[in-house]
């Protein structure tokens, strides 16, 4: 069951008005233009014992992604593919809005949007993750851990996911004399096979304005938000309206164009980060 949030801070109308006045002049409170995401920092391999990891800061929103790879069974309906599991935790360290406990609707929505964007567009080469069709497959656990929340968890989480995937190293197997297959080394040098890069672009609608990468204040005063996920060819590989409001068709078309352009910015930053880490392939 989902209930109208009751713990969200009430936004004084005046604050919203001030934001909109600034927008009328073409500015945002943090001096960005409407279409530019905040400063992005991406550091990969921050966890020595995980198969892949990345710490992403999008402004002050901080996401740590950790990837563990384990032996498991393929799903009965996809016997020749590996298994993907995406989980997000909105940890109480990250914000006074987050309480300890089982994942709430926000963390479930976040992880399911990331999951769908990886799965159906086959961002990961799932067929390369089968060991023994119908029987043994790799299970990819992607855990997204919010360390600081200042708005726009989607884009930060997607950057963390992609950069962690790009630095993920598969475990190494060995076959025992009994024929049994076991993990010999938790982490080898072999990368995981990635088919394509994707980025998420979140925009907020505030009055008549559509702005890219809202920070927390902007999220709170926004009418509603759109998450569009793009691949490098410009296809849309995932979408989610999130938040309580609505869009006119004109606003949707506008949002698509703005998001499509902003996706190029994210791709550029992602590529730079991955190059900095000397992990291109």
């Amino acid at each position: 069951m989902s209930i109208t949030p009751y713990r969200v801070p009430v936004v004084p109308k005046i604050k919203r008005d001030n934001y909109i006045k600034l927008y009328e002049k073409g500015f945002r409170t943090d001096e960005r233009d409407f279409y530019t995401p905040r400063k992005i920092s991406i550091k990969t391999n921050v966890l020595e014992k995980a198969n892949g990891s990345s710490l992403v800061k999008l402004g002050n929103t901080t996401i740590l992604a950790g990837i563990k790879i384990e032996l498991g069974q393929p799903y009965p309906d996809t016997p020749s593919e590996g298994v993907l599991q995406v989980h997000a935790e909105l940890s109480p360290l990250a914000s006074s809005f987050f309480e300890p406990g089982p994942p709430d609707e926000n963390s479930i929505e976040l992880s399911r949007v990331i999951d769908r964007s990886l799965r159906d567009p086959r961002v990961i080469d799932f067929n390369s993750l089968i060991i023994n069709p119908g029987n043994k497959a790799w299970v990819i656990w992607i855990d997204l851990y919010a360390l600081n929340y200042d708005g726009n968890l989607f884009d930060a989480s997607m950057l963390a996911t992609m950069s962690a995937l790009y630095t993920t190293r598969m475990p190494e197997l060995e076959e025992l004399e009994t024929g049994e297959i076991k993990i010999k080394n938790k982490v080898s040098n072999r990368p995981i096979k990635i088919n394509k890069r994707i980025v998420s672009v979140t925009t907020a609608k505030i009055g008549k304005y559509i702005i890219v990468d809202p920070n927390l204040d902007e999220e709170i005063i926004s009418d509603t938000r759109s998450v569009l996920v793009f691949d490098e060819e410009g296809n849309i590989v995932g979408a989610q309206k999130t938040g309580m409001g609505s869009y006119t068709m004109e606003e949707i078309n506008n949002t698509i164009e703005i998001s499509s352009k902003a996706s190029q910015v994210y791709f550029k930053l992602l590529e730079e980060a991955l190059e900095n880490e000397k992990l291109e392939r």
Binding site: M1, S2, I3, T4, Y6, P76, D77, P103, E105, N106, I108, E109, S111, R112, R116, D120, P121, T224, D231, G234, N235, I236, V237, G238, A239, Q240, K241, T242, G243, M244, G245, S246, Y247, T248, M249, I252, N253, I256, S260
Partner: protein
């Protein structure tokens, strides 16, 4: 498990169930069938059957009470017998997400400011699932809210647009959803030109993505017209038998 069809569109341009790409499944609507609920509706798109019930507005529990508006509680739930394999009644992550996006699709439509410090419950139960359940749920919620006399800005409805064999098709069924290239559920209030829910699972070009909205808006306009007819005739003939009992 259903098998993957070899082709989704045959030589004559027809889909696996004989429909044309822009053709909806047979739709049935009925309101007021639950006696206790303040409003209720049963909506069927083909074999997908969803029932919605409204309770409220009733006074909120203090801990969740909002001073300037009603709270909405929305539960999207699948009956254990609604799915291919019997479904455990414990809410899944999918049901939790869909309850959220459905609630968020209702927030801009329901005149919550009329009823501060109250809660309006919208319970939707999927009785049989054959694709598009969340969009059928939206249509059922629209009718049930109207049946309950809860003021809403406009009637709304939902439909899922899909892509199979490279063609955009409207109101996809379970096979098209499971094996198609894309599934895009959309909820809208066409009289206000407002889209209140969209999601995409799969891959679409930017043009296809925009075209999907046009297809959906067109379909939903027809669906909302059916809602109006249903509500009109329900005021005339009270207590007609439900389709579940045909």
């Amino acid at each position: 498990m259903m098998a993957r069809p070899e082709k989704f569109i045959d030589e004559s341009g027809r889909r696996v169930d004989g429909r044309l790409p822009n053709e909806l499944r047979p739709i049935k609507m009925q309101v007021g069938l639950l006696k206790n609920a303040n409003g209720s509706a049963l909506v069927e798109y083909g074999l997908t059957k969803v029932i919605a019930a409204i309770y409220g507005p009733r006074e909120s529990q203090k801990s969740v009470s909002l001073p300037d508006r009603a709270s909405l509680r929305v539960r999207y739930h699948m009956a254990p017998f609604s799915t291919e394999e019997r479904k455990n009644p414990v809410p899944t992550r999918r049901e939790i997400e869909l309850s959220k996006v459905l609630r968020e699709s209702l927030e801009p439509i329901v005149m919550t400011n009329y009823f501060p410090r109250t809660t309006i419950d919208v319970f939707v139960e999927v009785l049989q699932s054959d694709g598009g359940t969340r969009t059928v749920a939206a249509t059922a919620a629209s009718l049930a809210l109207a049946d309950a006399g809860i003021p809403i800005k406009a009637l709304f409805g939902g439909v899922a647009v899909g892509k199979v064999d490279g063609v955009l098709v409207v109101d996809i069924n379970e096979v098209e959803d499971m094996y198609g290239d894309a599934d895009m559920p959309i909820v809208a209030a066409p009289d206000l030109n407002l889209v209140t829910l969209y999601q995409l699972n799969g891959v679409l070009s930017k043009d296809e993505f925009q075209e999907a909205f046009d297809i959906a808006m067109n379909a939903i306009t027809g669906i909302v017209n059916m809602e109006k007819e249903t509500l009109k005739s329900s005021y005339q003939v009270e207590n007609k038998e439900g389709d579940l009992e045909k």
